[in-house]
Symmetry: C3
């Protein structure tokens, strides 16, 4: 018997200035008072499914086995969009089926494919008695997650779902010694995270014809000739390129804000070119 | 014996950029390390008792029986304003007696009247040894709540209080087929929540003389001819009226921000008119 | 045997809009699922070591014995700056050795000197298997703190460290009946907290030659002739001086924002003068 509390994480666009998040926690704790609740973030820009997908994609693998992740960025609430629970690698994801699991599904695929089991949330025995048309985070997602934490099985939640909604996530292209990707996330420090992974850069490097290749990283008007190993390797206020903590190429300014200082934004193309 | 941890919620105007909230949690956990603490919100605008009253009024009923709610929006701290603990329906409220319980008291009354027991906080045995004139959240409210979570009784906190300070909360008026209320809360999404309840609208409808009545909802320059059942029933960017998750009429924009898009603000009058 | 959960607090400049803080919590809970995690604040301005030092200095003493405090404001991450664990008065501090403990060390010294034991974090057995150059909060500080919460001893973390990096923290000067300090923190309410302690003011008063001394507090163009005991002793919108909740002189506006209303800022000199 394991006395450790189950963990439920929350990722929403609810902000923390209203009581919405607190209400979800109340609903969860009324069903399972022994669960441990962790806020991933509630500052997803309203209705920004991409950003939610990036956050849960970046964070989920650091949590203990059995963790239940609730993601509520749900512009289609009250319409006929599907609600789902997905299970992969011992973790559960409770969310609308609107693409918020896109990065997760991509990384599962890249890592060689843990199976993913998904069900449509249909069994209203696990909902609040009254279900509104505007706040399924409270009425459906939270109580379903809390019941999962008590051991309810996927089968009991609803019927299997084969195909999930997937956002068109760009994969960087490698052609003729040039890797082309884009900015997929700007973080709190103004660091611009790209979709170019350490692995993609290794592939670019391994295609080099000699040992004397040089590299240039380009975004907007910025030209960088090296990959930093630490922010502090560049002078204060200088731009730099570095493999960030998610294993993705990042454009940053040492002790500064790259978004503001370099005028770069979400979606901007980023090029890494090899010169042999 | 119940091994479930007691829950203490926090509602303050302290923000989360200073250590004030963390300090309150430290004080609580030093007295009862087994309590589970939930943030309702710390983003109440400074000294905004109305907003605090709305938040705790909207959230309290979702928490388990025995939950202790601390509310610290306290412009009168250090003056002779009273500090209280109120108990109703198995929940406890620890706060200054300045009106922060007004919506709670109104809803208790509307629901036919659970008894409310209140005491003035006076027994300094449950305070921190030193009490400042500026931070009763730390010195009085947190330790009193922590002691309550350990089973201290109301009688032991202080003498009974009969009448609590009550804010002048508007109740919508129904005259001649017209229901007049106001905006009482703007949430993070820019949704404008009114004080017009689903029940009040049902009353307006039931007074209809035939089956062919139509309705118009008016706020500022906006005219709406129907009640939505879901945000997504209206086109993207279109204004709409909907019964929101608290059972109150809400003015929203599908996938947009009604506050910004419609130029409406706290206190604005909202009219629902029936045409027979 | 004590069944109470150990407490780990977090103080960072990570904000709460990215998943960084949630990821740290995942790492901690994977190692010790029974720990209780408390956010002190994540809104330290990016790379602001002074502000972090102030926050942990103000908050640590309110937590139970055995609490482990993680502080990650770490502009030198990935460089050769040292990472440390310090223990004093039954509490642990896990952080870069960059001055974030300066206020803590000062207060320990002022209070007559609890011993402080510090070690350099070196034993990679307590790190995540892969250590990035950009996110030691996840890869080093969180797992080390989690292992400490399980009972790992300081000796096991790394070798002793004798001298810690210390910020040049100003101490107010008392000369000729004049106490000169400065603003060291502006809080969420716009209250300007000085480094002039209640004790320093008591010393100024005790040097008075008679019973009829008067006092003037000066900051910017503001002149105040008294020390308030409560905010509400002054009229609404009026500036005032008061000993705040940390035992430090504070410049505030009753029900207003002193920073905005008086145009004062971090570092501004504050003078308290005695007239005999």
């Amino acid at each position: 018997m394991n006395a450790s509390p189950r963990i439920i994480t929350l990722t929403t666009d609810f902000g923390t200035s209203d009581a919405y998040v607190g209400i979800m926690k109340g609903v969860i704790l009324r069903i399972n008072p022994n669960v441990q609740i962790v806020d991933l973030t509630h500052a997803i820009p309203p209705q920004d499914i991409y950003e939610a997908a990036f956050s849960i994609g970046a964070a989920h693998s650091y949590f203990p086995k059995g963790t239940i992740h609730i993601i509520v960025v749900d512009p289609g609430v009250g319409s006929d969009r599907r609600a789902i629970v997905s299970r992969t690698g011992g973790a559960f994801f409770v969310c609308p089926d609107n693409g918020v699991l896109s990065y997760l599904l991509q990384s599962v695929k890249n890592e060689g494919g843990q199976p993913i089991d998904s069900v449509a949330i249909q069994n209203s025995a696990y909902f609040l008695p009254e279900v509104s048309n505007t706040f399924h985070g409270r009425d459906i997602f939270s109580p379903v997650a809390a019941h999962l934490s008590l051991g309810v099985s996927l089968d009991d939640i609803g019927p299997p779902v084969q195909t999930l909604v997937q956002l068109p996530i760009q994969v960087p292209e490698l052609t003729d010694g040039t890797l082309t990707g884009q900015i997929v996330k700007i973080d709190r420090f103004g660091n611009a995270i790209t979709n170019i992974s350490e692995t993609a850069i290794a592939r670019l490097k391994s295609a080099s014809t000699g040992g004397t290749s040089t590299y240039e990283i380009r975004v907007g008007s910025v030209r960088l000739q090296r990959f930093n190993r630490a922010y502090a390797e560049s002078g204060i206020g200088k731009p730099l390129a570095i493999i960030g903590s998610s294993g993705l190429l990042e454009i940053a300014i040492n002790a500064g804000n790259a978004k503001e200082g370099l005028g770069i934004k979400w979606g901007d193309p980023v090029v890494v070119q090899r010169f042999d």
